[in-house]
């Protein structure tokens, strides 16, 4: 971190912990943003000096007002600009003159309104750079710090949220107010709450790093509409997880497949920006959530409970049906139903009626009172085979809901294992749910949700225990040659490489390619075939033809020189009859690769995340079956192997149904070379190696076909 990123971290300190706040552009009209911001700060009982700046006003809400921020005698830590966008730059300039380094710009009317707004935003950035100011916004709701030492609500949210240990960052201001309302109803508190709007200066990444160091924050939540710098986001998440152990949960909206249709390669077509985002988040340890409900389901689990040591869950229920639903969901989420020890079984048998199920899921029976729940929880939670407990309740006439809720609270507080509850229903169980919420027991309407959060918490715990993998650094002696090939192609104005060039490029990077020659006559084709060894493959070489098979431009299994001579003529005639205008450079002759399993590896350069590597089952149906996995380059060896294991193709490669094992190490090596190439040569836009023929274990793999697209 350096430059402005470092400056942001320093200036963010005063954005969240100011001793004095100037509200620049405040006014007296209730119901307007400039007034409500001032009122929010007052109502939130800010522990510092409040300084309204409002030309033409002597005072606002009983507080002395200043014409300009530069008129204030005291030092000002934070400037909150609420002037309209047309004069926001003037206010920021004065902040600079006053020596204010930390600013929140609430005003709208910037990038979101078009070109004029873009210029205004640029003007703000120039001023910020001139005075070493860092600002959040523009076009945002504001910031909140619930720390009682500060108690700052510099936003136009309706209310100050309760204090908690969840840090929430949102690109959407409107969503913030909905989230605050939702959280209030569920008794969820926040440490910091930030709407960062257009993120012209301080982005989500800077705020994430701030929350990493923030002692009040235990869980970091984000709502993002666009990822401007995917690699920086990934790095921030990795740093946060490794250095602070805080989970990062993100809703990234816009799950569309835009842009994919315009792609030239299979990889480009398969790697939509959303799929890349999914892969990148997972790679960085980010937990991606589909909606606000899921986000907070997980957030309260991380916020209130310790992480489970392993994945063995115990279910206690007074209702059979919901117990089965919870069991199904647990299995679906990859959890194990804990097998109780003999001692636990003995305790349960003693405490529960004969009709109860003393095995997991434990059914305490519909008429269970608090005593029975207590006995079951005490027995189960102490079992060393249990890593966490799911308590389900349905309200029968004799069910003492509040007492059972208190028992759940006691058990959770007494033992250091996670406890989650599902008191099913709404009206009748309401008081019990409130007891759980007030005592920070994660509660969910559906027991299935517990399996999801338990699984996420378990996987996050596993991630924390894993040693981070480093990208593989391999020596590439042929790199200068690769650069020459790409430079030449670019100089010729081409947007993809001829096969002979593409093969040379792969060869330079040490890929397993077959020997080949470009023949420009039938005689040369025969000679080339003799040189590379039979059987051979002949393929047309023309910069006007991308899909060679469609125009009769490929001949497989050529076994003699004479056959090669004839095949040359056939191929050229066929291509000329299909595409009379095509410029033919010749026919490429290579040794035919022995039969093996066809896989695809490829690369696409994503606008946010940079080079993305693909692996999948290859051949012509790759886009039909979509059996593919992605990772952002550079890759580590384990990551490359994981990509292969993710694919259904792995079963075939791993010797399914008595077949021989395939050379998975060879694929890993090819993926690592591709990763290295994609990072070293930004001019490569997309590429497919399809198929890569994988032979039996120890025999390697071979590139059978390659397409390389270059330029922007």
């Amino acid at each position: 971190m350096g430059g402005r990123s470092e400056l942001h971290q320093k200036n963010l300190e005063k954005i969240f912990n100011p001793q004095s706040v100037a509200i620049i552009g405040a006014n007296k009209k209730k119901g307007t943003v400039p007034f409500d911001i001032l009122y929010g700060i007052l109502k939130g009982e800010f522990n510092g000096l409040i300084l309204p700046v409002s030309p033409g006003k002597q005072h606002i809400a009983g507080i002395k007002a200043y014409k300009y921020v530069t008129d204030i005698e005291d030092a000002v830590d934070l400037g909150v600009i609420v002037f309209p966008s047309t004069v926001a730059h003037m206010a920021l300039e004065q902040c600079g003159q006053k020596g204010i380094k930390s600013v929140v710009i609430i005003s709208a009317g910037f990038r979101e309104v078009g070109e004029k707004g873009v210029q205004r935003e640029q003007q703000l950035l120039e001023i910020a750079r001139k005075y070493d100011i860092s600002f959040i916004g523009p076009n945002c709701l504001g910031v909140i710090n619930t720390d009682p030492q500060v108690s700052l609500n510099a936003s136009f949210a309706r209310q100050m949220p309760a204090a908690g240990n969840i840090g929430f960052l949102s690109q959407s201001g409107a969503l913030c107010t909905a989230v605050l309302d939702y959280a209030e109803a569920k008794g969820i508190g926040f440490s910091k709450f930030v709407s960062f709007g257009n993120k012209a200066d301080i982005s989500e990444v800077g705020l994430m790093y701030y929350l990493m160091r923030d002692e009040q924050t235990k869980v970091i939540l984000l709502y993002l509409e666009e990822v401007s710098d995917g690699r920086a986001l990934m790095q921030a998440a990795r740093d946060i997880i490794r250095q602070s152990g805080k989970p990062v949960l993100i809703i990234k909206s816009g799950r569309t497949r835009e842009g994919a249709s315009a792609a030239a390669s299979h990889t480009g077509s398969l790697a939509s920006s959303d799929e890349v985002c999914d892969a990148a988040f997972e790679q960085a340890g980010i937990i991606r959530c589909e909606n606000v409900e899921e986000l907070f389901n997980l957030a309260i689990a991380f916020s209130y409970m310790p992480l489970p040591v392993s994945n063995r869950i115990a279910i206690i229920t007074n209702a059979g049906g919901p117990g089965v639903l919870a069991t199904d969901a647990a299995v679906r989420e990859g959890l194990e139903l804990a097998a109780f020890s003999e001692e636990t079984a003995r305790k349960l048998k003693k405490a529960l009626p004969n009709t109860a199920n003393i095995h997991n899921p434990v059914d305490v029976i519909g008429d269970a009172t608090a005593d029975r729940y207590e006995a079951a929880m005490e027995a189960v939670i102490q079992d060393e085979n249990v890593d966490g407990v799911c308590v389900i309740l349905t309200p029968q006439s004799m069910t003492d809901i509040d007492a059972i809720a208190h028992q759940v609270v006691q058990a959770a507080q007494k033992y250091k294992k996670p406890v989650y509850a599902s008191f099913m229903g709404e009206a009748g169980v309401g008081s019990g749910i409130r007891i759980l919420q007030e005592n920070k027991i994660p509660h969910y309407f559906l027991p299935e949700s517990i399996s999801r959060v338990f699984s996420a918490a378990y996987r996050f715990g596993q991630l924390l225990r894993q040693k981070p993998e480093q990208p593989v650094e391999m020596a590439i002696p042929g790199r200068p040659e690769a650069e020459t090939i790409l430079r030449q192609a670019a100089a010729e104005g081409k947007n993809y490489l001829q096969e002979s060039q593409a093969v040379q490029l792969l060869k330079a990077y040490g890929f397993p390619v077959q020997k080949g020659h470009l023949a420009t006559s039938a005689e040369e084709a025969a000679q080339s075939a003799e040189r590379v060894g039979f059987p051979v493959v002949l393929k047309i070489q023309s910069e006007d033809i991308l899909h060679k098979s469609d125009v009769g431009g490929v001949r497989l299994g050529v076994k003699t020189g004479e056959e090669a001579r004839l095949a040359y003529g056939d191929i050229v005639s066929s291509v000329q009859s299909h595409l009379p205008e095509a410029r033919i450079q010749g026919v490429y002759v290579t040794r035919q690769i022995p039969e093996g399993t066809e896989v695809i590896i490829g690369m696409k350069r994503d606008a946010s995340f940079g080079p993305v590597i693909l692996f999948g089952l290859g051949g012509i149906f790759v886009e039909v079956f979509r059996d593919v996995s992605f990772r952002v380059a550079p890759l580590g060896r384990q990551e490359a192997l994981e990509m292969i294991k993710r694919s259904r193709a792995y079963k075939v490669l791993a010797g399914a149904r008595g077949r021989r094992l395939k050379d998975v190490d060879g694929i890993v090596d090819a993926l690592l070379r591709l990763s290295r190439m994609s990072v070293a040569h930004p001019e490569i836009r997309e590429m497919d190696i399809n198929p890569l023929i994988v032979l039996d274990e120890g025999e390697g793999c071979f590139v059978a076909d390659v397409k390389v697209f270059i330029g922007g």
């Binding site: 030309p55 309209p84 047309t86 206010a91």
Partner: protein
């Protein structure tokens, strides 16, 4: 009409609408940033100028005018 007179009458309207002393209004003053006009007062200013000078201005363009001096020049175009 001379610019000097337009300016005096413009300042008179501003002082009335924004309820401030005419003596504190300068030619370089920005309606919002220096004089504290809000969006409603900006509309009232446009209406006030139209009435004062008996003209009809392009409202969108009039609302884009930022300073007292620019308002004087803008109004002069209609006279």
């Amino acid at each position: 009409m001379e610019i000097k007179e337009i300016k005096a009458r413009v300042i008179k309207v501003i002082a009335e609408v924004l309820e401030t002393e005419a003596s504190v209004i300068g030619e370089e003053d920005n309606f919002i940033f220096d004089l504290g006009a809000d969006s409603m007062q900006s509309l009232q200013l446009v209406a006030g100028f139209e009435e004062e000078f008996d003209i009809e201005m392009d409202e969108d363009k009039a609302l884009e005018v930022q300073t007292v001096g620019d308002a004087v020049d803008f109004i002069a175009q209609y006279l």
